[in-house]
Symmetry: C2
Subunit: 721 residues, 2 copies
């Protein structure tokens, strides 16, 4: 033991080194094991042994001679050898003491399976804080507490430090889950689908290692080529986005990330909060931010594993152009419908392809896409059809459908499908199959899976996976621009923002801030009398708008605090007096700072730009169409600040209603570059001033292309941080 003393104290391991102690240990101590089968403290030890771990496992069980036939130790400090990883299954309250001893022993990797921490309330929170302090003190890395454990299928490791019933097959898919119970279901489910994993981790309470750490680790993991996540709570939002962007679009060895976010609905978020004790990020914000990060959102486990198989086993599709080969008309129709509904395109075959098909297939076959080789087809017709489409440059993805009919030699066709694919491997086309049914087709499915051809019982699922893969391709190939630094008068904005109290800026101050950041404003001035208003209007030119400036008046329109389209000095004078009289019914004269005279903005399309502070992602920027669109369709999109021009463009395109801006019914298209510009300026403003809690430009009025846009109204709310 003496030789271990020096190892205590926080020697700094890199993330890689720390997590290697957990995922690639040479020796493991399991603390708190028992001899009672079918309990976690027993199963976890037996799982480690029976999964053929390639190192040494030491059971720590006070007052036990042996566990499952293996010599046991009273305390971890009694173990005579070096230990890389400690797995703790002691009850929560005993854990802290045991963990301290692990620290003294110089163990750097820890998994705490035990529950009884943050998720149980106050006492548990204190316990978890103590655990964190011990981990920090000794420079350990910890997974958990309150988790299922971790699995690494690498052949020279074979770690199953979990209470999952069986070690999954090896594969190139990594799975991270915040829900331990989901892990058990996923392992069982994946086994049924013949899916293998590289790493499988239940993150539990994430007291130390979290999703961000795991993503960084998996970025360089040679075993992993696709990463799946089930998340409920996101703590380090900004870092998650950064690391995900890096992983999904790295110039070498990029890896797709597929994520299910639990708590998409208010009721779901409440349920998540009740079992994790954490607040969920706003779902609509998550949607935009995941897109910004390159994370593909999945709506169910089915979709997640369907898409994961395609991405893990097949080349990433170049485009959305698919060919369908089927022995059954109905399923061909269903597959076509599903494909088109998901934005895929049926490839138009070259004349060479059509000629080849005509030569090889019977006259009654359909030679167009979807190719119907007809119910009595055997492998020779499948081969002919597949050869033709693999040789056609217009085809980038191939879906092979089979229904089990009398003449169908299912295994023969399965083998032939794999052979054609292998022969054309150099073309890097994506192949998926749907052998419809369960029992009759099972031998064929097994052949496909063995050869890495993703199989889906239903063609609709194949279409789902192909669509998601195209989405990832689009992300990888997207236009990227750096965040532009516009020339702005930061000092001028700071002069307003830094001196203002918490709460809303006055309209004049808000406009000054916008002006400093180069937003397109109509000329305006504050008037204190009707004469002054007329003088200003004469100066800036008619028509003008009058707007009351009185902080107590929030809903200016309802209080008759806005008057539009005043075309003459006379109209301005009358409007000034009428507005003042009206407003004085609601507030005192002292409440009125004056009346703003602004040149009238010509008609245009109304859009809304906003900034808010998300508790997970920090400042986020919002974009939507004005008025009825945002109200009736809730059609808004968010991104984390700062954004590039390319991102601004994608925000606009993201709206379901963006067709309105591109010009409907022969209308002139709106000035989209001007909106992109305004979005970027807003992003810089939010980035530069942390005091901005909330901000709306509602509406920004957008004119036809080349004619720009103008801010019609703005509200900025500040808070001290």
């Amino acid at each position: 033991m003496a030789d271990k003393g020096s190892a205590s104290g926080a020697s700094a391991l890199s993330l890689q080194e720390g997590l290697d102690r957990i995922f690639r240990p040479k020796s493991i101590a399991v603390l708190g094991v028992t001899n009672t089968p079918e309990t976690v403290p027993h199963d976890i030890f037996v799982n480690l042994l029976s999964s053929r771990f390639q190192g040494t496992v030491y059971p720590v069980a006070p007052r036990k001679r042996h566990i499952a036939g293996v010599r046991a130790y009273d305390y971890v400090l009694d173990i005579p050898d070096e230990v890389d990883l400690a797995v703790l299954v002691f009850p929560g309250r005993v854990c802290e003491k045991a963990l301290e001893q692990c620290g003294e022993k110089g163990i750097k990797g820890v998994i705490i399976i035990s529950a009884g921490f943050r998720e149980v309330g106050e006492a548990g929170i204190a316990r978890e804080e103590h655990v964190k302090s011990i981990v920090a003190k000794y420079g350990m890395r910890l997974i958990g507490p309150n988790c299922l454990g971790a699995i690494n299928t690498e052949p020279d490791v074979r770690l199953n430090a979990s209470f999952a019933r069986a070690m999954p097959a090896a594969g190139n898919i990594a799975f991270l889950s915040q829900s331990g119970a989901l892990c058990t279901a996923v392992l069982d489910y994946a086994q049924g689908k013949g899916i293998g994993f590289s790493k499988f981790v239940s993150l539990g309470n994430k007291a130390d290692v979290d999703d961000v750490d795991m993503l960084r680790y998996l970025a360089d993991d040679p075993q992993t080529s696709v990463i799946l996540m089930y998340l409920e709570e996101i703590r380090r939002g900004r870092e998650l986005v950064e690391v995900a962007q890096h992983i999904t679009a790295a110039s070498t060895n990029p890896k797709p990330i597929l994520a299910i976010k639990g708590g998409r609905t208010a009721a779901g978020a409440a349920a998540a909060q009740s079992h994790t004790g954490s607040l969920a990020a706003s779902d609509v914000v998550c949607d935009g931010v995941f897109e910004q990060a390159g994370i593909i959102r999945m709506m169910s486990l089915e979709e997640m594993f369907n898409t994961a198989q395609l991405l893990a086993y097949q080349p990433l599709p170049r485009t959305n152009r698919i060919a369908i080969v089927t022995n059954a008309g109905g399923p061909g129709v269903m597959a076509t419908d599903a494909a088109i509904e998901r934005g895929l395109e049926l490839a138009k075959f070259s004349s060479a392809t059509t000629a080849a098909l005509k030569k090889a297939l019977p006259a009654a076959a359909n030679m167009k896409n979807p190719i119907d080789v007809i119910g009595d087809a055997r492998d020779d017709r499948y081969v002919a059809a597949m050869e033709a489409v693999f040789n056609d440059d217009a085809v980038d993805q191939v879906l092979v459908i089979l229904t089990p009919q009398s003449m169908t030699n299912i295994t023969g066709i399965a083998q032939a499908v794999c052979d054609v694919h292998a022969r054309h491997a150099d073309k890097k086309k994506t192949l998926v199959a749907s052998f419809m049914g369960t029992k009759d087709v099972s031998a064929g499915i097994e052949i496909l899976q063995r050869h890495g051809v993703p199989h889906y019982i239903l063609p609709e699922w194949a279409a789902d996976a192909m669509e998601d893969a195209v989405q990832y391709r689009t992300w990888r190939d997207r236009k990227r621009t750096a965040v532009a630094e516009f020339t702005v008068k930061k000092d001028q904005a700071a002069a307003v923002i830094n001196k203002a109290p918490e709460g809303y800026l006055t309209e004049v101050d808000a406009l000054k801030v916008l002006d400093a950041y180069g937003f397109p404003l109509m000329p305006f001035e504050l008037s204190k009398s009707a004469d002054e208003a007329v003088a200003i209007a004469d100066r800036i030119g008619y028509p003008v708008v009058l707007r009351i400036v009185a902080p107590k008046i929030i809903h200016k329109f309802e209080m008759k605090g806005v008057m539009l389209n005043l075309k003459s000095a006379d109209e301005v004078r009358k409007a000034y007096t009428a507005m003042r009289d009206n407003v004085l019914k609601h507030v005192t004269a002292e409440d009125i700072h004056g009346i703003l005279v602004r040149k009238m903005i010509p008609a245009g399309k109304e859009v809304i730009l906003g900034v808010s502070r998300d508790h997970v992602f920090g400042h986020v920027i919002m974009f939507g169409l004005g008025g009825i669109y945002v109200e009736a369709f809730k059609d808004v999109t968010f991104r984390m600040v700062p954004i590039s021009q390319a991102t601004a463009g994608r925000m606009i395109n993201n709206l379901r209603t963006s067709a309105v801006l591109r010009g409907l019914r022969g209308e002139a298209p709106s000035d989209i570059p001007a909106i992109e510009n305004a979005l970027q300026r807003l992003s810089l403003l939010a980035r530069d001033f942390d005091r901005i809690a909330e901000m709306d430009i509602n509406p920004l009025i957008v004119h036809p292309t080349g004619e720009g846009c103008h801010v019609a109204d703005v509200r900025i709310r500040l808070e001290n941080r």
Copy 2:
């Protein structure tokens, strides 16, 4: 043979009698069988024998002594006994002769499996027509040709007259498919899910018996309680709607109908056409008409069988209020998200329920909905939670989720779940389960399925099924009103419509037609000079609108043929002259019939009403919001004519954008009863005049509630029929 002669000739069987000969025969002749295994002509005979058919089967195979050990006959006329059903597997060209002999033999039920008819082009079409004439001549009922056959699992029949590999299990779900190949896949797939069928029919080319006949037959079939359909082509659209309405909402023994319609997309429809030779109905029309018929549209086989199980095995849910019981937080969150996203509601528990849960569950459990009995739960906790929610009146549907964890006694819990359900059978609550995984949970799933508890691997699928069941419940409970007969001046409309040539009615004539049918019009008159226009305007009151009446000018606005908001005689005079001058740039003076003077319609919301003739469903009526909504969102809905007030109301509610009419941002709600009225009048007009090929009221301007609506523009196109 002589005793059969009298049976030939068209004795009229009822539909029931005719189809009973096919589905409940006492004797079957199979014509064209061979001794070559793994061919349709062989397998179909062997299938009949090995499925333990409860009658006699006669092989007809010229120059064969026996088939599969059974004495064979050269011709059907050689069979010495009476025969109810003939199954023909002869090649297409031999079929006709064999069919004629079946007629002579007095056989009334026929299934033609053979292909080579309408689907192969001209020669096949002729052959099919000949087959139809033989069928008519002998008063036979025919399924096919070009089909998989038919199955009836009734124990005293046990008919497998198909080349499906295996007879499905008996159950109360009927399946009709236009695609034979899909049938083989569905049978295999359903077997994997443990789903049984009552009748299973491949309709093929539908030369005689079609979906409408089958629905009528299944309406009274005591074995069938849920009907599934895969359709590509609909021929008798109006009858389909009528029979479906009758079946799905019958006062005694109603049965849900779930349908997948192949060819939803243009590419899918093209693919369907290529293999059935038929044109698909417009998909958006189908959507509305299926809703009108009570047919629930399914988007995949997965959804269809998931929903079918719930409807077949469980009481129809009273409401959308569900309770979730889970042993895993993550899946509970996922299920909650899925449920809410599908319009289900998480029941709010009574205080008694909460108290019962608190008493029975550990402190760390979640007592709110979703109830989390926690990972180490065994059957006792599941029982406690389920007892509580079955006793809570706020709960109408229960979803039980299980993930296989160390302590989980899977089969014990499955049995307990079934027991609780049985104990509370009198409460008629809907129970579904999701034991997540594949292998570990399989024994539990088997227990659930044996007890009629629908099982879904993923909670999302359970939510899909629960949502569809609620949709069916809503349909059953919907408000129904008879088609109202308004007092209209049909003669006045007929005077215009019957004398007009093909093509568009003039605006004045179209307005006369609308006036006759009581549509709300502003006063109008046709003027031939500026003076006349002014006189009319003076008479009807200002402001007025001028509209050019010149049939060659289709796009009035673009040609400056419309001038709005003319407030004085002077303005009218000027506008008249300007309009005439403008229009004369495009047409000659003879082309101008005059200028319509109409009282200006006050501002309001624009909606579009339309009529068109669908080649499947005949006259259909369309409703959508005007302008941008219809263009940007394609948000329109259709119904078959005539419609009731309740149906008109549902059309309006169906729009995704209908919130706009209910009043957004404090706007007054639009006069929806006035729109309903206009829709009904339009429906009557279309019903009364078959010459109307197409008609648009675009826009109808709708005012706030109580203030009605006004037709702003109308086009009516006539055609001779």
